[in-house]
Amino acid sequence: MARREGIRRGSRRNFSGLLITVALHGGILLAVARAHSQPAPPMIVEHDFVQAEMVKLGKPRDKFWLPRITQPPPPPPNAIKLSDDPNAKPAEAPKPEDNNISKDLKHALERARKLEALAAPEEPDEGALNGSKLGTANQAVGDQYLASIKGLLTQNFDLPAGIAPDQIPNPPEIKFHIGADGTLSDIKISKSSGNSFVDDACVNAAQKTRKVPAPPPSIHGIRVECEK
């Protein structure tokens, strides 16, 4: 008797467990269905990128040494250009040196040689042991297209010398249109800095750039803020 009581109590407990399970599953199914029927919240894609400095290959500089001015890598040498004109005359050969150089010139050459000797001798490049031979460069990851434009514009953005930061409290902003082939047009100041030289430098950055890689279909224009 007592055993039958126990069984009945057990089956009642099983029944309530089943109910809870069914309710839970129903809830999940409902939630999933609801989620599918409603639009997802907007996803914010930030046009932001990480900048990676590529450093020169070499021995790291002792941190207790005074700094050195690092020079940008020299531009590639000019390739010899072939003339398109089949009748073009050959370039004139340089004239042989005049041996009768004047006293003044001799003096000047001697002075130049002395000055050259004063200059510090070339030393091996400094950098990081895992650096690159080409030296410092900016490499952007993230939005590849905007990063490439940023690189091009930055190369052409030079502020006039002598402009104090306190003279440009508000960095200027320009806007321009990018054509299907990447040509920039409608370059104009959308937010002035108050200093016309700084504004001009910002506009010039886009004007000098003239053309950028053909944009992806989603991009037709860009806003650029120029800061010191």
Partner: protein, 423 residues
């Protein structure tokens, strides 16, 4: 029409199809890759032949010294541009690559100056007349106005640089225009004089002379005259720096046996306070522009390094940690940008000019690979630095563009740049 920075999820309206507000344009921010020196044409001035020649030479040199302009070689100007007179044709000038052009006419103590910006058409952006007995004064004044019209801050022309003339014979104190013109010997001590320090108002120069067989501190009027002996403690009386109110001087004295820093009265040389007390050598003090701090050199931690302490004395804080031999600190007169220029010896044994940003501790190098360069002196506006070089003479460099110009060819030591004068 325009890329939307906000991409909506599934089912969102196709916003990219509609012309949207400019705010939705993707935005990037660029910072300047460098500073650009404006290409400047300075054609030969009009007017009296000699005055015109001086005006052209002086203005070209002044513009070069600012380190803001690349002065174009007049040899590249076609005859048409040389004979244009005071008028201006932007189309022609843009062909020679000029971005701005300065025109002058000098005659009978009057200088007419005009500034044209090629991109802004044929009207002058600055047109002014100057009167002066010496055309150089008028040109320097015009140069200051030009700098102001481009940068918003006046130039420093009209100020003078004091230095020790270190040629043959005893070294005397001399002063020279910023462009190296009108050198004048200020002292006639007949005995070695060195380490000049121009007073804040520019009226006096403190210096050390061995006239009485001891390195005493003397003061002379900046225009020359009889020097008066201010501090004659036995031993060193050297490396004076004026307090901003010009009432006192901080210098190195060694009458108590060791080189320590003291503050003395600028009138009678009475000692007001001893500022350091350390068995090491303390020297080369320099006041911060607000007079609250003093930077100096000390070898108390081994090698000579720059330290900063409160002007009333107190515990010095070491501020240079790179290099093993840093000396001759000079506080920049700019209150908005605390900087100390100093001479440092690098790991190759070469002396060069460095600039310490006091707040961040970052050290920037001003000179490199051109002989040895030492003894920096800030211009009164803190935008240029003068120094002496083993290449000979005094050079001036703009730390922003690192463009340097030799302003004085003769032998010189320890320059001190006086204040800008307003006529």
């Amino acid at each position: 029409m325009v890329a939307a920075a906000l991409l909506a999820g599934a089912g969102a309206p196709a916003r990219a199809e509609q012309p949207s507000a400019d705010e939705d344009l993707p935005a990037i921010r660029i910072s300047s890759s460098g500073v650009e020196m404006l290409k400047l044409g300075v054609p030969k001035a009009e007017g009296d032949a000699e005055a015109a020649r001086v005006a052209t030479e002086t203005l070209s040199k002044d513009m070069d010294i600012t380190g803001l302009f690349q002065v174009l070689d007049p040899a590249s100007f076609p005859a048409q541009l040389q004979s244009e007179g005071l008028s201006f044709s932007s189309a022609l000038w843009s062909q020679v690559g000029a971005q701005a052009v300065i025109k002058m006419k000098a005659s009978g103590g009057v200088l007419e100056g005009r500034v044209y910006i090629v991109a802004r058409g044929d009207a002058a952006v600055l047109s002014k007349t100057y009167r002066a007995n010496d055309v150089r004064d008028a040109v320097h004044e015009f140069a200051n106005d030009i700098v102001q019209s481009f940068t918003g801050k006046r130039g420093v022309f009209g100020s003078r640089i004091a230095f020790a003339l270190t040629g043959h014979g005893p070294h005397e104190i001399a002063t020279v225009d910023v462009d190296g013109g009108r050198m004048a010997t200020v002292t006639k001590m007949g005995s070695d004089s060195l380490l000049p320090a121009v007073s804040p108002g520019g009226a006096e120069i403190a210096f050390t002379s061995y006239l009485r067989n001891n390195p005493d501190l003397w003061i002379v009027a900046a225009g020359g005259g009889r020097a008066r002996r201010v501090s004659k403690q036995p031993g060193l009386n050297t490396g004076a720096s004026w307090s901003p109110d010009a009432r006192s001087l901080v210098l190195t004295l060694s009458h108590e046996g060791n080189s320590e820093l003291y503050r003395i009265n600028a009138e009678d040389g009475r000692i007001q306070a001893r500022l350091t007390n350390n068995p090491a050598i303390d020297s080369s003090p320099t006041y911060s522009p607000d007079g609250s701090q003093i930077a100096f050199v000390s070898n108390r931690q081994g090698s000579p390094q720059i330290f900063v302490m409160p002007a009333s004395g107190g515990t010095p804080k070491r501020v240079t940690f790179q290099g093993k031999y840093n000396q001759t600190p000079r506080y920049s007169p700019r209150t908005d940008k605390p900087q100390i220029a100093f001479t440092g010896r690098d790991e190759r044994g070469v002396f060069d000019i460095f600039i310490l940003d006091v707040k961040s501790g970052h050290v920037d190098r001003l000179t490199q690979g051109k002989g040895s360069n030492l003894d920096p002196a800030w211009s009164p506006d803190g935008r240029l630095v003068a120094y002496v070089s083993s290449r000979g003479g005094i050079y001036v460099s703009n730390p922003e563009t690192r463009h340097e110009v030799q302003v004085w060819r003769g032998s010189a030591a320890s320059p001190s740049w006086g204040p800008a004068t307003r006529r």
